[in-house]
Symmetry: C2
Subunit: 325 residues, 2 copies
């Protein structure tokens, strides 16, 4: 990464302004990395504009400078530098702005293996979170790591590693976590804000969904469904459903968890697997896709019929997989 660091350092020398763009449907890594990078650039005397086409999720609103994130940029705005963080492609920041047009040089900082190398500088590496890349860049640029920057990077890191639980968690993740704690991060405070801030509707809808779990006779597949009526009765919104499918997966013996969400004549399906089952292949049979352990699809039709069809397909898939080693 030495070459990329050099290029970025050179560009920063003459830059007076920069825009940093997060990806649409933002998560903690893109928001935290954007905010941390913003504070780093400000230390270098650069005027920073923070941009995200979508609303910042409520749980990240407490982060320093989160209130400065803008959903619109002034017409004809132009910046010396245009950063994209955690965006595998130029379009991932939404189609309302084009970094190439509104900035003198595009710097693409990302960790997705399928990154399209759309920047003038592409600082792309396969690490657990973009926060790790920002941390390393900060070290190279001799940025003073303060509590504000550290809080943003730590939030970004735990978002993308499931608080150090996902497979991408590695030695370096923990080494950086240690550094961020040295800079003042309080893990209890931060994780309480992020994880212990559930809405009442989210608890209610989750209780309803979990009270109705169904299992195949061998308990390897668990599923549940949330209907429009249940959403209305519990006053739940879309983001209140996050985590239900993970709770299904967390059950002993369950290999595949499926969550169905009825919405206006369509059924949104979320798949999760625990170990060896590639749920993206099941999702693909319903026109969807995703990763090995997390996938999704949207199917038109009646909930009960879709449930039947998907569960039958999952049973078939597990049966076939059981012949493999």
């Amino acid at each position: 990464m030495k070459a990329e660091f050099e290029k970025i350092k050179e560009l920063l020398k003459s830059a007076k302004s920069a825009v940093i763009a997060a990806h649409i449907d933002p998560d903690g890594d893109t928001i935290g990395s954007m905010l941390a990078l913003g504070m780093m650039l400000e230390q270098k005397g650069i005027s920073v504009t923070l941009y995200c086409a979508d609303l910042n999720p409520k749980i990240y609103k407490f982060l320093p400078n989160a209130d400065k994130i803008r959903r619109e940029l002034p017409t004809n705005a132009h910046y010396d530098l245009g950063f994209a963080v955690d965006a595998s492609d130029a379009t991932r920041i939404g189609n309302r702005i084009d970094l190439k047009k509104i900035s003198g040089a595009v710097i693409n900082i990302d960790h997705h293996p399928d990154n399209s190398q759309y920047g003038d500088v592409n600082y792309v590496a396969k690490v657990s979170s973009v926060a790790e890349l920002i941390f390393d860049l900060g070290k190279y640029l001799k940025i003073k790591m303060d509590k504000n920057i550290a809080d943003c990077l730590y939030t970004a890191m735990i978002t993308d590693t499931g608080n150090f639980r996902y497979e991408n968690t590695n030695v370096k993740t923990f080494m950086i976590a240690a550094e961020l704690l040295k800079a003042g991060v309080n893990t209890h405070e931060l994780t309480t804000r992020i994880y212990d801030n559930k809405s009442i509707p989210s608890i209610k809808i989750s209780a309803r969904a979990l009270a109705n779990i169904k299992f195949t006779p061998d308990h390897k597949i668990a599923w549940t469904a949330v209907t429009d009526d249940m959403m209305r009765e519990t006053k739940a919104e879309g983001e209140d459903l996050i985590g239900i499918v993970d709770r299904l997966r967390s059950i002993e013996g369950v290999e595949v968890a499926v969550f169905f969400r009825e919405k206006e004549g369509e059924v949104k399906i979320n798949f999760r697997s625990k170990d060896r089952i590639n749920v993206s292949e099941i999702a693909r049979r319903f026109g969807g896709g995703g990763h090995i352990k997390a996938a999704g699809a949207v199917v038109k039709g009646e909930l009960a019929k879709v449930e039947d069809a998907v569960v039958s397909e999952a049973i078939k898939y597990l049966k076939a997989a059981s012949y493999l080693v």
Copy 2:
């Protein structure tokens, strides 16, 4: 700790046998630390007996050597060394054995601030988990850190830090985590085994409990109750209730969470607080006690009446606390 390390090293030189005792009602820290220490002593050529008066919880059964833990020791058994891990007092290992009687020297390894210094060697320090102490001792003794030892220490560490979420998590915790990953720990595999292994009854009883949450009008106190009937209907056991009170606390705006468990004419009460409320003071008013953020009590009486009394007291306590800064 240099002096204690020296003493332990000296004792190990001439020792041929050792018993290691975990505390009763064992958790991941006492079990993981015991197993890790056992393997370390075996590297030094010492024959090791692992003892725990209570059954090892199911979730820790996968750990290396967990099947060697004994609930009984042979009559007249005698060991050169007797270790207690994570036991603040000699009686915490249960009253069926007395380390002083059955061993040549007692080595007390613990991190509780109220440790009674009952050993011939007391290796006691205020760290997040006993695993940290075992790790440091292992380094001093030049133990080869292998994946088995590392898995045990990692399990112990995350148990006592809430997977790096509690306030005791610090720079050193993460530095050690990094070392354990270097030795082969797979965080995803390990945490899946520990956290994603919930029984079906535990999911069902939790869904029932969460469907019935009650709140004070300001939503600062949340509570729910589990009755004998609910336990029977969901086939749940005591350990299936773990975590319900934490889910109550995780609700936005909730300051105090209370979980009531009806059991044969008594009501077991669990308190949790999020930030500033000292729930041990509320618990004490009902003859219980505990820590600032986690406390409990057992009260005789009818569930509905106990609920009323406890919630009224909690409201009063919060009102009084709101006058303080």
